[in-house]
Structures are given as C-alpha cells and as structure tokens.
Subunit: 203 residues, 2 copies
DNA sequence: GATAAAATTGAACAGTTGTTTAAAAAAGTT
DNA sequence: AACTTTTTTAAACAACTGTTCAATTTTATC
C-alpha cells in the first residue's frame, strides 16, 4: 500500500508558488490561508492536506528564501582560495543578480525578523556568513594593522550597500527619483561601484 | 456642553505608549488590540474609545515614526547654507542618535512597506528628502563633472550605511559577532566613518 | 473492471479578533 | 446635593481564520 507521493506534483507546486507570492507580498501574519488557496486556485482544504499547517507551509517558503540568500554566499565567503576583494566582488554580483530576480526578498526577510516568531533565526542559525573565512581574513588584516576599522563595519557596508536600494526602491520610484527601468541600470552600475567603494574603505 | 478632551491624558497616553511598543515589535497585522490593552493595563474597550479603531491608532503611531524619521532630516537636506559634506555629516549623526534611541524603527517601517496598505506611503509622500536641496546640489555636481556617479547612488549609500546595521543588529548579536554594548560603540564610530567613506565616493 | 489509495470538495467547527453596547463608576458642573 | 458628562467595565456580537471531517471524485493497482 501507500504509493509514495510525487504523483501529481502540480497541485502541491501550485500551492507553494502561490504561498511564495502571498507570503512575500504580505508577510506571515497578514496572509490568510484562503488568500493562498485563491491565488493557487485550489480548494482551501488542500493547503492543509499537502502542507500540514499555515506555519509549516511558511517554513518551507522561508527556508527556500534563506537558502537562496545565504548558502551561495556562504560558499563564496568560505572559499579559502579567494582574496577579500574577489570574495566581495563575487558576493555583490550574486546578490544583485538574486535581488533583481526577487526584488521582494529583503522586505520579506526583514519583515519576518520582527513579525515572525524567530522563524528567520532558526534558519539563519546555520548562517556561516558571520563565521566565514572572509571574517577570518578581515580580522587577520586588522591585526596586521592593514585594516583600520572593525571587520564588522566592512560586513555591514557590503550588505547595506547591496541590499538597501531594494528596500528603498518603492520610495525611490514613488518619488520619481528613479524612472522605470532605470533602477536595474543603477543596480548594474553598483556591481562595479560597490567593490570599488569598499576597496577605498579597506585602504 | 462637551468639556473638551485633555482632562485625563494618562489613559490615552498609556494606550499610545503601549501601541508604540507592540506595533513596533510585532507589526500591524500580528498585533492584537488585546495585546495593546494588556500592555497598557487598561480595559479592552478603551482602545476603541480613545482611538476609533486599531487602524486609526496605528496611523498615529506610524505618523509619529515617519515624522521623527523624515522631518528633521528634510530640514537638514534643505538647508541651502550647508554644503554636501556638512549635510551628510549632520544627517548621519541625527540618524544614529535617533536609531540608537529607537532601534526598532527601521524594522518597523520596512515591515509596513510590505504588510501595510501603503500606510507608510501616505506619510512618506510629504517626503522632501528626495526633492531636497541636497539632491539639487548633487545633480549640479554631477553636471559639472565633479561627481562621476548618479546622485541616487549617493543617497542610497548614506541611508544604507546608516540604517542597515540596525536591521542587521539581531543577526549580528545572535551570531556573537558583536558583543553586548559593542554595537553602540560601533555606531558611534560610524558617525565619523560614514562621512569619511562618502567623501571617498564623491571624489 | 473491481478494489484500494489518493486527491478533492463543501461544510462545519472552535478559537480568535475588532468592535459595539448597555450599564456602572467617576469626575465635573450648577 | 442634584444632575450632567465623561470614563470605565464586562459582556457579547459578528465576522474572520486555521483546521478538521466526512463524503465524493479521481487515480492507481491488480
């Protein structure tokens, strides 16, 4: 008995896709299971049938997001073959790629840091960003006297310079400071600008 | 008849204070009116008695927050007496002061950009940050060929460098990268570092 | 094609949540 | 003190929300 799952993934995947959209747009608390069902155009009960609860479904979506946001970067930051500037350049490019495809990610994640019952924390715990080889390199550089500021400043700057524009995007576009399509152009400029700026900060 | 309000402000103010705490910590959707009543230690009905609805109460709290975050800065950015570096230095210091006192502000505001029904937008519309004298100065500098990048880059960098640490703070402290109390020290360092970094970017 | 398993549906449940109401208590006014 | 207004309270309402259940339909297996 029990034919393993994986027969008709279409419904399950549709729910997941809908959940991604609604959770990302409205956050966990403001999202109703009925919203997801409507977005997926399936019966309400199916959400609980495929995923056990709203919370479990959310965890899946959140895990995906964190995975995308953290794992690749962790690999780069932990590549002992790469120097600091190269690590930063690659990370910046990866993030800008990712965020151009998923512009709502930062808002979504930031939202859950407050709203959620530390769901974010649970996953971010595996977070190797902050105990990475890059951190080690920066601390070493600091001790050699070649870096004048606390390594954390550098980390905060990388993240801030990459992520903030996506957080501010709605406001920028609303105030017509950035016209349609221009945002993408600006972000592409930042691929080379941010590493340049950081080089200035390191020196 | 109708003795004007303002008699016993204590209850009203207690509700408001409680609302600030709970809304800021959990966001609009995740906050229950009963949470606020409990936090204020008053009867549930009084919330609707003094403020007409949860939404109206939230608007008050949000308006306060946006006011604090935008108005002072707008004044600085629009002071035609001040040069670019001086504007930036003052803005950075004001923001760091403000955010050290209200560390949850950024998370709160960012949260409402997605979750809220554009409540943030309504207020931020008065936003003179992005049509300020500083913007004008930067565009002028750009046209004179003394600024190589788009002025928006500069704006995004200022905000990003100041605000991001406060967004990342929970993660930084959780991962023990920043010890207790050290965060404040780092932010105070950034008062001088950020203007310095930005000078480098402008040149 | 008969049988079993899995998927889907509509309805209902139980708990929550924002809001209202009517009555009581407190404060203010004459 | 009598009376009015304002404030506070407890209870209830009505709508909403996550979840479950039983019945039905669809799909897979022999």
């Amino acid at each position: 008995m029990a034919v393993k799952k994986e027969q008709d993934a279409s419904t399950e995947e549709r729910i997941l896709a809908a959940a991604r959209i609604v959770f990302t747009r409205k956050g966990f608390a403001a999202t109703k299971v009925r919203d997801i069902a409507a977005e997926a155009d399936i019966n309400l009960s199916l959400v609980n049938y495929y995923f056990r609860s709203k919370e479990k479904l959310f965890e899946v979506v959140m895990a995906e997001a964190v995975q995308k946001l953290v794992f690749e970067i962790a690999t780069i930051f932990n590549d002992t073959q790469l120097g600091i500037p190269e690590k930063i350049t690659r990370a910046v490019n990866y993030y800008i790629d990712l965020l151009l495809e998923n512009p709502d990610f930062p808002l979504f994640l930031v939202n859950e840091i407050i709203t959620g019952d530390d769901m974010f924390t649970r996953f971010a715990q595996q977070n190797t960003l902050f105990q990475s080889d890059l951190i080690r390199q920066l601390f070493a550089m600091k001790e050699e006297g070649k870096l004048s500021v606390h390594p954390v400043h550098v980390m905060m700057n990388v993240i801030g310079l990459v992520v903030m524009p996506f957080l501010a995007r709605p406001i920028l576009e609303r105030n017509a400071l950035v016209k349609d399509g221009e945002f993408v152009k600006l972000m592409n400029e930042r691929r080379t600008l941010i590493p340049l700026w950081l080089k200035g900060m390191l020196g």
